[in-house]
Amino acid sequence: MENEGGAESSSERRERQQIVCAARGGKGSRPAVNRAIRLAKERDADLTFLFIADTEFLSHALVGPPSVIREQLRDMGEFIMATLQAKAAEAGVMADYAVCEGEVGEQIREYVQENDVDVLVMGQATEEDDASRFDSGTVSNFAAVLEHGEEVEVVTVGQDDVLME
């Protein structure tokens, strides 16, 4: 797991709410990213964008996932998170980002646990997405499980919210 930015001490950070926005960076993530920025502004909270480099799809390809490819995917994730960071900065919110590697649902849960996250903002999977990447099937189920188990407020932002943004 890798964190960038974050000059404040941990005690200072704990005084403020921790908002994490799990995003991939595509068009479908925009509503969730916008909502996370708005929430961070409204609550004067710390905002971190979280990217999960999931290499599971390589297991079906006739090639092993060597470390070089994993490194490339991490670089790509950092680049995408940096674009979101810049977007937040434009809105007056200083955000951090983190890049993790592994199964998406598992990594989000782990990150939330390890970083005392108060609010998790996620987009909802589109029809083209592979919803099965979450253990519990869908984003809303996953959110419910997470809210119950980790005591974190989960905000799921659907594609319909695009119009509202």
Binding site: G28, L62, V68, A82
Partner: protein, 567 residues
């Protein structure tokens, strides 16, 4: 006489000499008999496609039907069996049996037995055994189709699908045959005959070479270089990226090329505030087309080259111009369909450009330099090794060893980079395809296609190219190509004028270019889509079809025209 004419005469003499030395079927049988000595019965067995039948049981039966001598046919279909002198009575019967063929009996008359009695040899006429459809035939056919389906629907890992296929054949051959001999397909020893070890070692050697090269950062640097020289203009950027991807794919495998090109391409696209697909799609189609140019560019070319004995230079000479023309056509195609996306791209911010530059640095310049020298040496051996009978697999292994010795990377890490699951996939695939070959299914398909095309070479070439393209679009192109190899060999032997491997080149063009037609058509498409989906740019099967299918039509048409012009 001009040097060119002299060369032509020498080539003709060499070919004439080769055919003069090459023994005919009957001569082979006679030779086998002479080698054995004593009262000998010899012969040659072939299948309905005139291919030698190996491992057929040949028994000589006495009057009381008791066997007095027996043997098996060799790889060229010949046999020679010495009959003990004390068993040479009034008449003898030669009993020939082979699974998946009707058994055959030949009665030796008194004159023929007399010849043997005087210590002479008797040669049976060349005999074509008749095929027999057994339960094993249906099981092998269903197993092959099932394996293709499992790979196509992506529910099983390709290797697991092939492993399940091979296991099904053995279950039928051992457990099934214990109940009813009709279930028999082949035994383990026979199945090993079908594994092409040259393919296995070539892929393994190239995997080690790729593992060294990919860690150097060259792909990322090249993509960034494309961005710099195009000054961020997408219409030009995409052409440079296509050229880089096609050249890289000609020497490395397409999947690795796309795995390394996709992340940096996504970053470039996002820096330009555009959807990555108008850059990724041209790259992946260029990768599938570029691989055709060389023997090592695609797994299908490796299969074809090894089976038909086509050299690296021959692939380069016969297919590279067609590949270049197809790429030119693709470049025009992408400019038309993605023109709006290219127009709406914006300039990258200095911060993102700086990040791009940082992510695209060559990380191991010394290793890259050494890999370059070794790569050059390998290219020379690939090109000219044929003249000293150096097979490409050995060149790849020599190159891999040279890199490991010179660069001295972590050997364990490099060996781990060899994707053993891929190698197991190929071994099991060869067995499953061997199964359908053993039971005669491939022979029937060859006969059917042979009947359709007759002796029309142009029709055969067009049919193989387009059949290859459509089948590769619908099912995985590697198993399809492996199954088509004996079919194409049969047609090449049967159709006048098809001797120059031209039908194999048609298969190469069809199988690789067809992969562009659908998302599942090529592994490179799947991994590119996988990465793009992970960064929020998923592509559906239908969307890929809409963009990829016309690209396939364009490239296969150009490829076909080139083949017709060239041959």
């Amino acid at each position: 006489m001009t040097p060119r004419r002299l060369g032509g005469v020498l080539i003709c003499l060499a070919i004439g000499l080769y055919f003069a030395i090459l023994p005919s079927h009957a001569e082979e049988a006679g030779n086998a008999a002479r080698e054995v000595g004593g009262p000998t019965i010899s012969g040659i067995l072939v299948d309905p496609q005139d291919q030698p039948v190996q491992d057929a049981s040949v028994r000589v039966l006495a009057e009381d039907q008791e066997p007095v001598a027996e043997t098996e046919t060799q790889s060229n279909g010949s046999f020679a069996v010495v009959v003990p002198a004390d068993t040479l009575h009034a008449s003898l019967t030669v009993d020939i049996q082979r699974p998946h063929f009707h058994s055959m009996r030949y009665e030796l008359g008194a004159d023929e037995v007399d010849t043997l009695r005087t210590g002479g040899a008797f040669t049976l006429p060349v005999h074509a055994l008749e095929r027999r459809i057994t339960l094993g035939f249906w099981i092998a056919a269903i197993t092959f189709i099932g394996m293709l389906a499992l790979i196509a629907v992506d529910t099983f890992h390709n290797t697991l699908a092939a492993l399940v296929g091979a296991a099904a054949l053995f279950i039928s051959s051992y457990l099934g045959a214990a109940v009813d001999s009709d279930f028999f397909i082949f035994d383990f020893e026979r199945s090993l005959h079908y594994i092409d070890w040259e393919v296995i070692f070539l892929i393994m050697g190239m995997m080690i070479v790729i593992a060294v090269v990919e860690g150097s950062g060259i792909f990322q640097w090249l993509a960034y270089f494309a961005y710099r020289i195009s000054r961020g203009r997408p219409w030009l950027l995409v052409i440079v990226l296509m050229v880089i991807t096609a050249v890289a794919s000609a020497f490395l495998d397409n999947v690795t090329t796309m795995l390394l090109m996709t992340p940096i391409t996504v970053q470039i696209a996002l820096a330009l505030e555009m959807n990555p697909w108008p850059l990724l799609m041209p790259e992946v189609v260029a990768s599938n087309v570029g691989g055709i140019a060389t023997l090592v560019g695609t797994p299908t070319n490796i299969l074809i080259g090894s089976f038909a004995g086509i050299s690296f230079a021959s692939f380069l000479i016969n297919l590279t111009p067609g590949v270049l023309m197809a790429l030119a056509a693709l470049a025009i195609y992408v400019q038309i369909i993605y023109r709006r996306s290219y127009r709406h791209a914006t300039a990258a911010s200095p911060e993102l450009e700086e990040r791009l530059r940082k992510n695209a640095q060559i990380t191991e310049p010394e290793d890259l330099k050494r890999a370059g020298w070794v790569g050059l040496g390998m290219l020379i051996l690939f090109l000219f090794g044929d003249s000293i009978h150096l097979v490409p697999a050995v060149t790849a292994l020599l190159g891999a060893t040279a890199l490991l010795v010179w660069i001295q990377p972590d050997v364990e890490e490099m060996i781990e980079a060899v994707d053993w699951t891929t190698l197991v996939f190929f071994m099991c695939l060869f067995m499953v395809v061997g199964g359908i070959q053993e039971v005669g299914l491939i022979g029937y398909v060859a006969e059917l296609i042979g009947r359709i095309v007759g002796t029309n070479l142009t029709l055969a070439m067009v049919l193989i190219t387009w059949l290859g393209a459509i089948m590769s679009m619908l099912v995985a192109n590697i198993p399809f190509t492996a199954a088509m190899l004996p079919v194409v060999a049969f047609l090449s032997n049967r159709i006048p004028g098809a001797e120059g491997n031209m039908l194999f080149f048609a298969l190469s063009v069809g199988a690789a270019m067809g992969g562009n037609g659908s998302l599942i058509g090529a592994s490179a498409n799947m991994v590119t889509a996988g990465i793009a989906e992970r960064v929020g740019y998923p592509i559906t099967y239908v969307d890929f079809l809409k963009q990829g299918f016309p690209a396939m039509i364009v490239t296969v048409t150009v490829g076909t025209l080139w083949l017709l012009f060239r041959f």
